[in-house]
Subunit: 339 residues, 2 copies
Amino acid sequence: MSDDRRLGVLRAIVEDYVQTREPVGSRVLVERHNLGVSPATIRNDMAALEDAGYIAQPHTSAGRVPTDKGYRLFVDQLSTIKPLSSPERRAIQHFLEDAVDLDDVVDRSVRLLAQLTQQVAIVQYPSLRRSALRHLELVPLGDRRLLVVIITDTGRVEQRTLELDEALDEQVVPELRARLNATAAGRRLVDLTEPLARLEEAFAPADRALVHRVITVVEDTLGEATEERIVMAGASHLARSGTDFTGTIRPVLEALEEQVVLLRLLTEMADDSAGVAVRIGHENRHAGLAETSVVAAGYGADGNAVARLGAVGPTRMDYAGTIASVRAVARYLSRILAG
Amino acid sequence: MSDDRRLGVLRAIVEDYVQTREPVGSRVLVERHNLGVSPATIRNDMAALEDAGYIAQPHTSAGRVPTDKGYRLFVDQLSTIKPLSSPERRAIQHFLEDAVDLDDVVDRSVRLLAQLTQQVAIVQYPSLRRSALRHLELVPLGDRRLLVVIITDTGRVEQRTLELDEALDEQVVPELRARLNATAAGRRLVDLTEPLARLEEAFAPADRALVHRVITVVEDTLGEATEERIVMAGASHLARSGTDFTGTIRPVLEALEEQVVLLRLLTEMADDSAGVAVRIGHENRHAGLAETSVVAAGYGADGNAVARLGAVGPTRMDYAGTIASVRAVARYLSRILAG
DNA sequence: GCGTGGCACTCGACTGCCCCGAGTGCTAAT
DNA sequence: ATTAGCACTCGGGGCAGTCGAGTGCCACGC
């Protein structure tokens, strides 16, 4: 009994099951994949695969279904990444290029990915901490409020309003703006703390209170709590006709609405050599996602990832196609952000 | 046969059906609502209500279920709006007050509304066109790119990058910024076109190309196509155990993912005297939403609505509670934006 | 030792049948 | 106008029987 053939059988089972959504038996297997052997032989292989935990049967007189472990082996065997068709590629590029700002880019990306994969897509906004600062803008609003706008090189814009205790000295604002930008522009936000502290000391004591508040607000904005945003699209794909989940899709939807869960999901995953990570079923370590798989990749200008995106679907998904789409969108998105 | 009692019967049917999710018969009706008459009498009333199209029976030997028309009458009869409990009110206020910027406010609002109503919540961002301009900021990025930032009094920030054909004259930027703001600040964005056109003519011919591009970009940003954004939360509530929809929730989810559909939905609805609008079932004029009802209200600082929010759920929903929650969140949101 | 044909066995899916009960509509009585 | 009584309808649940897909195992041949 060759190990090679057994792998082939597993692969055939996964492919058939993904396509038909039904447990696959030994006969249809030999017919559809013209393996040159008889059903009985396949049955022996299947028994071995079942002993090893790669497949299971829902009930005695039914065919076999891949287990999480089976999908894992299947995915690891997937070596070649199926390239997208060239019309597909053009469509992606065209679609993303028309975006007017970062919100629009992210929004278009997530919809595009949902469309391509026919699954739920999630996209994390470029992390503030890992981005570089492009510009800091201070806008006085009346004489007791100051609007602080933080603009990163990934196009992300954050704004905070400061309520001041005393009337604002209009003179100090342009100076503060200029010196803040001189100090901070171009730096990664995570590296700002120390230079900003030094800057504060360089101001006249009378102005320090204001300077301190501005610096504090900038740093708070970078705090973990509020900085991460994730958008989602394609939830309707979860409700596709042939319902893939035992019971309802509610736990899945609930999990997907928890930013914290999604964030953990995305950040915990380690990309493989092709830059894509796959988590299957229970590997997600979350009850609501026990029957789903996640395919994710990082993106970001000039090679260093500033955030991640991915697709979430039933464990019985088209892994090859999903991986290809996720990878493609991540690449185009990186290119757009760099441009 | 008194018309009063018939209305009471309809009301009782709606209440019971909303609670039990099961067709309600004449006997349980008299028992649960201690109407002082016999089941037979109620049956006559029910027959009349059915002739009038307010209720229907799924099949011969079953109880009655309200029709869209029945719900409509029921909702129109709902005069008093059930006030929220005071802990609820405190929770709302507390929750919304902690928001740091507009994105955060909107995000918190939509989650809060989903939580309160136990349904899908949608919130439209404050309309750009109906907001007033707070500040226009121009930020040179290198010498061939100019970042234009538009900040409204509702806290919304839009940004666009201009790619310039020729090197930017650093001198003209402060002047342009000052004059743009002098012309535009405080005005409703929809009223800007004409003053801006006049402003353009006031510049030296050499600078007009730049001025023109900036003005164009501001006006384009206000164009219908990109200005409207809607966020959604609570999709998981659609998948609640007792599935309320014939077939799947897929068409509903699909409709909710179409910004255009949502937008039409929200803007087409006319608020009643209490500031809340309700659309029931087929009134939504959208196939996917034929079995859902929408409760919406406008919000905005100082009384004039700049956008809308709402809840979407099965026609068999708790209208009184949903209306109360939608109204409350709209009010608190208005207050936050005004403050 | 590996592959194969044959065969008995298992068990879910489907079907037809029956019965029960909830709920109705109608009629006649008050 | 309300009500009691009654015949009628029809969906749903329980039960038995059949069908067929698919398995596991065994004996045989190369």
